[in-house]
Amino acid sequence: MNPLESKKTYQDYVDKKSPNSKILKNCFNAFWVGGLICTIGQVILNICKERGFDTQTSGTIVSILLIGISAFLTGLNLFNKIGKFAGAGSLIPITGFANSVVSPAMEYKSEGYVMGVGGKMFTVAGPVLVFGISASILVGIIFLIFNTQSVTLV
């Protein structure tokens, strides 16, 4: 058996050789940590609704609080320990977005407060904003096209 016969045979051989992550354990941890973070969000949401805030504002408050907590935990060097354990459980909720903004900012502090912290904040999270906002613009335009009867253009 010659694994080097072609690039394809080598890649298949390497895939077989490489150890698998413990996927069941990882999914279990992602499930309960992710669920817990969302539940904390739900509690905050419920408190906001009880206080009379409308849905949109309540949602924004949840985002701001979760982002603030994640930024704080990242700054204390704690978030990456959570992330190593929980994987998608901390990456997928809005906490992952916050961590991906703070971590390069911390890393590049040695290069200054303007170009370092300021300039490198969005090296990981930038694509999220680019694609998310662009997708929303497209959604808006497509909605407009399909609903020109009920909406005026200007």
């Binding site: 690039k7 080598y10 490489s18 990242t74 992330g83 190593k84 040695s110 090296t123 990981v124």
Partner: protein, 265 residues
């Protein structure tokens, strides 16, 4: 010196490795090779304000230490071959700013140290009496440049590499009593299309195997001529793959082959 076979160079006057030394970081100091390092560090900063400055300090101190150990004055060293992983090899070039020795910067990624030994040996057969070879790497500066910020909460798969924090240096001498560098076999770049940045061992193993087997063919030797065959940076997956590839070409290296990375941590 003369060429043997396809790629190997045999030295008529083999250079001696006069002295060598290394300084490593705290994680490496906990590994099985701990007692062989000249100095180990308490943390990855060593008093500096950035990872890159720390790495420069490590290579500077390592080269100074090796020169002191050798008893040779730095003015008697004819040139230095040094390199590292960072852009423009700034770790070596900034770290060795004050060494006042003609400087050849080299880049060979994980093969940099052996590359500098190869070029240094060729230099001793031409113009040099003494040559300094050095290299360095730093986990944090490598992650910053090539992968992700340290504080990012991502999971690393089991095959991912862990860059060594440390520096190694050696002085080659035209005359001496050994250990000698008798042959060098510069290797070709072999790209089998592995794109996974988390599985560098698999990406590098084919090149290692190709160079090793070419060496055997050029010199007419077999694996058991050697007491030990050592690779630098394949890791335990790359090591297994290298053994398999060599076996498929008819060379059994299993009994005397080992890899530094799988021994480091």
């Amino acid at each position: 010196m003369k060429k043997l076979g396809k790629q190997t160079i045999k030295f008529d006057n083999p250079p001696t490795i006069l002295e060598c030394g290394s300084i490593v970081g705290p994680k490496e100091a906990q590994g099985p090779l701990a007692k062989y390092f000249d100095q180990t560090l308490e943390d990855e900063f060593w008093g500096e304000k950035s990872w890159e400055k720390a790495e420069s300090k490590i290579i500077k101190e390592t080269t100074n230490m090796v020169i002191a150990k050798s008893g040779i004055s730095s003015q008697d060293i004819d040139c230095v071959f040094a390199g590292d992983l960072l852009n423009q090899c700034i770790s070596s070039s900034f770290g060795l700013r004050e060494i006042n020795i003609p400087f050849f910067g080299v880049f060979g990624a994980c093969s940099t140290f052996v590359e500098s030994l190869c070029l240094g040996s060729i230099a001793t057969e031409s113009f040099a009496n003494h040559v300094l070879c050095a290299t360095s790497s730093h986990f944090c500066s490598a992650e910053k440049q090539f992968r992700f910020p340290l504080e990012l909460g991502n999971q690393r798969p089991p095959s991912s590499q862990w860059t060594v924090t440390g520096s190694g240096a050696a002085i080659l001498s035209k005359d001496g009593n050994g250990p000698y560098i008798t042959h060098i076999t510069p290797g070709k770049i072999v790209d089998m299309g592995i794109k996974d940045a988390n599985n560098m061992g698999a990406a590098m193993a084919p090149a290692f195997a190709d160079t090793l087997i070419t060496h055997f063919t050029d010199t007419g030797r077999s694996p058991n001529y050697y007491d030990a065959i050592i690779s630098g940076d394949l890791g335990y997956i790359g090591k297994d793959i290298a053994i398999d590839i060599a076996k498929s070409k008819g060379y059994n290296i299993k009994s005397n082959y080992n890899d530094c990375r799988s021994s480091y941590f």
